[in-house]
Assembly symmetry: C2
Homo-oligomer: 331 residues x 2
Amino acid sequence: MILIGAEKDETYAKTGFGLVQWRSELVAGQFRFPECEIDLGVPDLTVNEAVEQGVKSLVIGVAPIGGVVPDDWWVVISDAVNKGLDIVNGLHIKLNDNPKLVKAANASGSQLIDIRVPPPTLPVGNGKKRSGRRILTVATDCACGKKYTALAMHRTMIASGMKSTFRASGQTGIMIAGEGIPIDAVPADFISGAAELLSPENDSDHWDVIEGQGSLFHPGYAGVSLGLLHGSQPDAFIVCHEANREVISGWEHYSLPSIQECIDLHLQAGKRTNPKIACVGVSINTSGLPNDNRKAYLEKLEDEIGLPCVDPLIDGCDDILDYMRTTYFNR
Amino acid sequence: MILIGAEKDETYAKTGFGLVQWRSELVAGQFRFPECEIDLGVPDLTVNEAVEQGVKSLVIGVAPIGGVVPDDWWVVISDAVNKGLDIVNGLHIKLNDNPKLVKAANASGSQLIDIRVPPPTLPVGNGKKRSGRRILTVATDCACGKKYTALAMHRTMIASGMKSTFRASGQTGIMIAGEGIPIDAVPADFISGAAELLSPENDSDHWDVIEGQGSLFHPGYAGVSLGLLHGSQPDAFIVCHEANREVISGWEHYSLPSIQECIDLHLQAGKRTNPKIACVGVSINTSGLPNDNRKAYLEKLEDEIGLPCVDPLIDGCDDILDYMRTTYFNR
């Protein structure tokens, strides 16, 4: 069961939507407060109903505004713990730092699972080339499709018989994949080292598809993005963008870069650790466009950029993989 | 007293040298093992001699290779704790995570002071303009004079009657200044937010002189440097470089950028949060040059770059401040 609380903005419910999109077989329902304005499209459940249906865990599926967990969430979480549900949390705050909750969990036998805990010891990035191939999703902003695109690209590669692993770098990706490193929670000195650890040496024809974080253009998170780019040493990257978004979401005093600017900066910065880095496609979230504009938007963009431009939710990632096969693999 | 251990490379004894340079009045001596090949230029002391002389603390003055504290250090540290000395530690490892040491400190009344602990709650960078002026030291590599240059620039500003505060972002700087934020230990999501906190709003004619970290060109640490650059929103920056260094120290498979490349990349990246950012000078560590080449090197560089180029240890920072007065302050 996924806790959505009183969320009003889909952008902040990425975890909930991601789990429903990619692990729907594991989602029994959602817990929402009456004020909640979003809907994951799964049944509403109370804690008691969840227990009756044999649900095993409550996943916090939304980031609370300001990062502070509201009191009424704690009521629900405590109730779930007392009734034996495991709690899965991907926020920066830690359930295991809450002594009352820990005590209740010990009593009921439920587990408190904090996802956003990096490995206790991490290396500093060494910048040495590793065997195997890597593709990273990057973006003009946060929350515009990096995780979705990486998962879709991974699925496309697997479907075409390639060797590929999805590498999760954020809380939702880790919940979906069952493993990964929360790059944004790593101490700053170890960002690129953690990224190197996340996509270790592999077969020369194996592709790691690495979930990107933040944006090089984001005034809050660019350091995370740069460290992840350097440590991932991607051979290829896909730029993710939401059509019609013109300012940084939540940082409206910052304009978004153009897609071409985004490609150029990633080529420039990425070259430092992989001189052969190349952009192989653009992934557009077209959900904000009128349906009959979608195709024209992507075609116009494709003319401008000279690379496949797709909405992976609608078109899949085959065009990008085809481009890689015909153009990129021969380099 | 400063613990230097068995260090063979001055680069790794930055903390020890920094304290002797900037707080010599507080340094009674150094503790060195017989294999040690460096010398801070202060008396050698044993723990017993230190206690007899009334020394109050043992400062770990060097980063151990590989980040692991060798066993013989622990022997010295434990001995010092048992004899009532406070221990000051700026490494990523925490003295307070060592139960035996904590127990011994409780018994003897000595304090275990871990410097590299960021504030427990940090904001995400908001990218909003703050009042007051800021100057940041940046570099072509680690360990080539960012802290020294910031301290020297701060001293120059104060001497000329300006309002200025040195803002420490690393372990040694924090020990020298008595306050600051260890930017490299902050969770990755909060790098630029921590930098914003480090140089808060101030009088419009007040200059924060901010100690830089790492290098945008460093395969291990560039994320730290970018977050610090974005959060500092510097009006001005000084590029630090060690003459004759051609590869990244300890990452010899990476070449150093030219000084002009370093200026250009910082202008490009820094513009994102401060469109008026400008480079106001170059700080060169000329210690590796023959004495009679020093002047010619700096003059040639000054011709190429068109900005004041100084070795702050020898020339001070007056030329840079003069340049700022005549050129920059009028913008």
